[in-house]
Subunit: 383 residues, 2 copies
DNA sequence: CTGTTAGCGCATTCAA
DNA sequence: TTGAATGCGCTAACAG
């Protein structure tokens, strides 16, 4: 949008000057050793009371002294050191395309919620859709020795599927898909767990969304409202989610006995794209009474195109159903009916899957979508 | 919304069975030691070539052998161990209310972008607005020995300000504000850095948004369009952001010589709240030709209230300006004019501030907002 | 230029 | 029940 430079001002306030109390060595924090010393016990004993390993086998006397010492020193255990010693980390990694995208934001929120219940911390990496970064972050997360990694990102159908160990000995992997697979294999070989959200074609445990049945459900709902002339506004052909949704819609139509050849207009996942696609669709097929749009962003554009460009009333003349239930769907006018994806749930399930013992073959958890009917859908005209 | 239970299906696929290659000890990963051994050099040498400490002072011979060994073993350094040894971590913490909220999502995205440039990883914690969790996560992040922490969260004006070290020796802190301050002090005492995004009243380095001047700018723009009867729909009185925005608007009005007593309607930050507030506002002051709404969510409601409940045309009869430039602002009808907050920028600046050497007194970086004019604003009627 | 050694903060045997 | 000793993977002096 506008490119006006933002200014930045420095303000230094004099009030509230900080009073630092460099209690411990300036180096790090308080150590268990220091706590033990203050309590007059051995390191081992302090460790036992503070980190329930040799659980309750410490005398009340010493136990109390250690606890007091820890409190007064504001001791907090050193998680990385702990992880090193017991070789098991308490952090999991999450790789997304973009945290600012509500789709991934919801996934992240779900994962973090579940993480909290398990007392795990989450390290997030955003690739901003650069596929090279995905491999790089996988390495970084591996370097951090995270316990497990969630790979959230809509896959493309073009990705190479198998061949985890086909590369020759000293050969560098070529395709980015290969590299990814190798990195994943290495992480798993070290005992790390990986799960994907959304189909990735890699042999991973995955949490998938029921895109097919979601689209099918929307189609059936429209059919029941009397719509017989449906159209679809789809996104890029190489996205697996798009492919699945489209497939689901087509199958449902066929099952309902619709005339073959439902019109489909493609566009990118943008509002403008949706708007143009809607215009094309209705110009080519003026009889259309309902359109299924494969993303809410495009649906926002479809609503605009229908009402403003073509002067059609929604839902009186044309009904619209979107996909995703983005936060703004309810703010559109009319409020958008849409297929809600259980994104938070997906994040939670992914984390849960991560913590379960590893199965022999990759598992897939498929989460159902939910059709949310709002003001943008109504009975077919003349019914 | 609807509470239909989501089903979950397990599907086990037989294709793509994974071929694990437990190369290293099942325990952890490949160690530097192993690399050194394979290369036939000492641990120190391997360390030098792989982690540029004693930079380029290794012979080409050995260097090559080590690099080959590392590659063939798929060696990745153990970051926590490294951090322990050199006592300096490469991860920063970020505490937000909710990652799924676009406001925080944008901040997080900015921070992560900057982190990437510095080769840092970001550990995120979401408090889901439970203030107790904030303190808890601060502790967890401290336990993880992160290098620094970004505290992003709209503060409330009611928070206790100073008193970092006022509590008596053995006394437990009472208010949650005190606890927070103590936790922060402890982290800083260990050499950690903390910066806040948004005013928090704690004596921290902070990145602030120019809420006052943003609101003032919006008011002036409306004034120039001929509007003389302005109204404000504000949010909860105890949020500092709301207070600042309101203050900015009032000052601007006064400076322009507006009649005292601009009507202000309060509501919570929701769409419904905004809708109701708009109706109240225009019922009480029917002459109003422009309304400044202190958040986009409420603005969406105001748009609905004005047009649907009151039958007023926007912007022909009433102009509307929101605040935040939420992603959906452009999807509203009419597209919403709004004051854009430089959220990503704030995240970046925060990280940058974190890496700068600590100053004697807390610094504040104030980021300017930007007025984005779209279709919801027009000249005052009759001009 | 290269190797040896001594920690970093903690968990965990193994004795006492 | 408690303490001393060893090692987790790595860096950083310190010697050659």
């Amino acid at each position: 949008m506008a490119g006006k430079a933002l200014s930045k001002r420095y303000v230094t306030r004099m009030e509230n000057r900080r009073s630092r109390t460099r209690s411990a060595r300036a180096g790090g924090g308080v150590t268990l050793q220091q706590v033990a010393q203050l309590a007059g016990v051995s390191l081992a004993t302090a460790s036992r009371v503070l980190h329930g390993s040799g659980a309750r086998n410490v005398g009340d006397q010493l136990r109390g002294r250690v606890e007091d010492a820890a409190r007064s020193l504001r001791y907090v255990s050193n998680a990385p050191a702990q992880a090193l010693a017991r070789s098991s980390s308490s952090v999991v990694g999450l790789i997304v395309h973009d945290v600012a995208d509500p789709y991934f934001g919801a996934i992240a929120a779900g994962a973090m919620q579940a993480a909290r219940e398990q007392e795990l911390m989450v390290m997030i990496a955003a690739t901003f859709r650069e596929s090279g970064l995905e491999v790089q972050y996988l390495r970084s997360l591996r370097a951090q020795r995270v316990r497990a990694i969630i790979l959230a990102g809509s896959g493309t159908t073009g990705i190479s599927t198998g061949g985890i160990s086909t590369a020759g000995a000293g050969t560098d992997p070529v395709g980015t898909g290969e590299e990814l697979a190798e990195e994943i294999a290495a992480f798993e070989a070290e005992g790390g767990r990986v799960v994907a959200i959304g189909e990735r074609g890699l042999g991973l445990d995955t949490v998938a969304m029921a895109n097919r049945s979601g689209a099918a459900g929307a189609v059936r709902a429209l059919w029941e409202l009397g719509h017989r002339e449906l159209g679809v506004v789809a996104g890029p052909a190489d996205l697996t989610t798009v492919a699945h949704r489209l497939d689901g819609a087509r199958r449902a139509l066929r099952a309902l006995g619709a005339a073959a050849g439902t019109p489909v207009e493609r566009s990118d996942f943008s509002q403008e794209g949706g708007r143009a696609a809607a215009v094309r669709l209705l110009r080519a097929h003026p009889g259309t009474t309902a359109v299924l749009v494969l993303s809410d962003a495009m649906a926002a554009g479809v609503l605009a195109g229908l009402q403003e460009d073509l002067g059609l009333a929604v839902p009186e003349q044309v009904s619209v159903v979107g996909f995703n239930d983005a936060p703004y769907a309810v703010n559109l006018r009319p409020a958008l009916s849409t297929v809600r994806l259980p994104l938070e749930r997906a994040g939670q399930e992914a984390l849960r899957l991560l913590l379960e013992p590893e199965a022999d073959e990759p598992r897939t958890v498929e989460l159902d979508t939910e059709l949310v009917l709002r003001a943008s859908t109504g009975p077919a005209p003349g019914r």
